[in-house]
């Protein structure tokens, strides 16, 4: 393997690496906020919101990520306010991932025993207070492992940014390989950059999940 590719183009690799991390982190925050909102929609007693939440989750989960990214890339252009690839891609990632996070949060909330809600309500707490003080603190523990897994997915999925010129790791690698004519080596280093992020994370998630299992 030719390490001069890595050393000669280290700046390009790092810029792409930085943008990949930045996009994944922004999308993690965005998809968590959006996902939490949708999860609340899905369990509220209000029928219209529940219907919307279910429709949102079912629709997004059944279409490809790339399509969601294209919608936020081509859509605004067609309407006259073009977004650049990084922004459109990060919004697309957030929207796509929010559907999965909403399901994870909902599952976490549902896993809290019903007796907890009943006890809280009969102690005089209202619905919102029960959620905030009783249910959510217990649910969050169960939500962290799937959230971590979604973050790993986000890091991997952020590679679609390259398809809308989103300045991520894959995008810069394309530039490097056209310059060096060494596609194999160039992309082996790309793979290493991704693994540096994803392998420790997935190891940590496995340890966390095992610890949770032991407790119950």
């Amino acid at each position: 393997m030719d390490f001069s590719i890595l050393t000669d183009h280290f700046g390009s690799y790092m810029e792409g690496f930085y943008n990949t991390i930045l996009s994944s982190l922004l999308a993690l925050c965005g998809s968590f906020l959006l996902g939490a909102l949708i999860a609340i929609f899905r369990i509220t007693p209000v029928k219209g919101l529940r219907w919307f939440g279910t429709g949102y989750v079912e629709f997004i989960r059944n279409i490809p990520l790339l399509l969601v990214v294209y919608i936020f890339f081509y859509g605004p252009s067609a309407l006259g306010f073009p977004l650049d690839g990084f922004i459109a891609g990060t919004i697309g990632l957030s929207v796509y991932t929010s559907a999965f996070i909403a399901e994870a949060i909902r599952a976490g909330i549902m896993a809290v025993p019903k007796g907890q809600t009943e006890a809280a309500r009969s102690s005089g707490l209202n619905y919102a207070q029960t959620m905030v003080h009783i249910i959510l603190p217990q649910a969050i523990k169960l939500v962290i492992p799937p959230l971590g897994n979604q973050f790993i997915n986000l890091i991997k999925n952020s590679s679609v940014l390259t398809l809308v010129a989103g300045l991520d790791l894959m995008y810069f690698a394309d530039g490097i390989s056209t310059e060096t004519y060494r596609t194999f080596d160039t992309y082996i280093f790309v793979a290493m950059f991704y693994l540096v992020l994803t392998l420790p994370l997935s190891y940590a998630m496995r340890v966390w999940e095992r610890r949770l299992q032991r407790k119950y």
Binding site: N62, I63, P64, L67, I71, S77, S159, R182, T183
Partner: protein, 216 residues
């Protein structure tokens, strides 16, 4: 927005041609990745010396890389080391490798979830290790694997869209070309494509729900 122009007979036919490639590639990849995933999953579960640890490392590496990178690598980097694959073959190979790693984890998880007492009972009734696996563990484990397997198959179908990176003429690639004729086609085309993906996947999940109620 030009709905009439975007939905001209030529464009619709072109999109359907893309859907055909998407379905063919997805179908072949689902079958191949299921077979390979089952074999690798059983090997991982059986704790065979040397072989199981090697499989563990390979599966972990593949699962932690972006599929887009794997598709690109197989099509454009492998020829540098003498492995030349055609367009469709490269797409199927990449999808199969990636999804087989995912399925292997599902299979291993399903097998591990079978109650230990079942295995002890089978072993003390005189069944060999292989007989225990074949007659006791696999039938019970497989049933539990159905829901995650189906969502993995849906993922695979969505993931075929990533083959735009190697210009495989599937649905998303063809949609991209239609959009290239004019931005006024963008929103109508993306809406239609979303509807197509959604319908196919929704059908798949309905089918699996029926399958589940039958087997469980």
């Amino acid at each position: 927005m030009d709905f009439a122009g975007a939905y001209s007979t030529d464009n619709l036919k072109f999109l359907l041609d893309g859907l055909y490639i998407t379905l063919i590639v997805a179908f072949i990849s689902i079958i191949l990745s299921f077979v390979i995933g089952c074999i690798v999953g059983v090997i991982r579960y059986s704790a065979i010396p040397v072989l199981s640890p090697i499989m563990f490392v390979i599966v972990e590496l593949i699962r932690n890389l972006p599929l887009l990178l794997i598709i690109f690598f197989i099509r454009f980097a492998l020829p540098e080391v003498g492995i030349k694959l055609g367009l469709i073959t490269a797409a199927i190979a990449a999808l199969t490798i990636f999804e087989a790693a995912m399925i292997a984890e599902i299979v291993r998880g399903g097998l591990t979830s079978v109650d230990k007492g079942q295995i002890e009972a089978a072993r003390s009734s005189g069944l060999t290790n292989f007989q225990t696996l074949w007659h006791i563990v696999l039938p019970q484990g497989l049933r539990r694997m159905v829901p995650p397997l189906v969502s993995q198959f849906i993922s695979l179908l969505k993931d075929t869209s990533l083959a735009v990176v190697i210009s495989l003429p599937e649905l998303m690639h063809n949609a991209n070309i239609v959009i290239g004729h004019g931005y006024s086609y963008a929103i109508p085309t993306l809406l239609l494509v979303a509807l197509i993906y959604f319908s196919v996947n929704f059908l798949l999940s309905m089918l699996s729900r029926r399958l589940e109620t039958k087997t469980v």
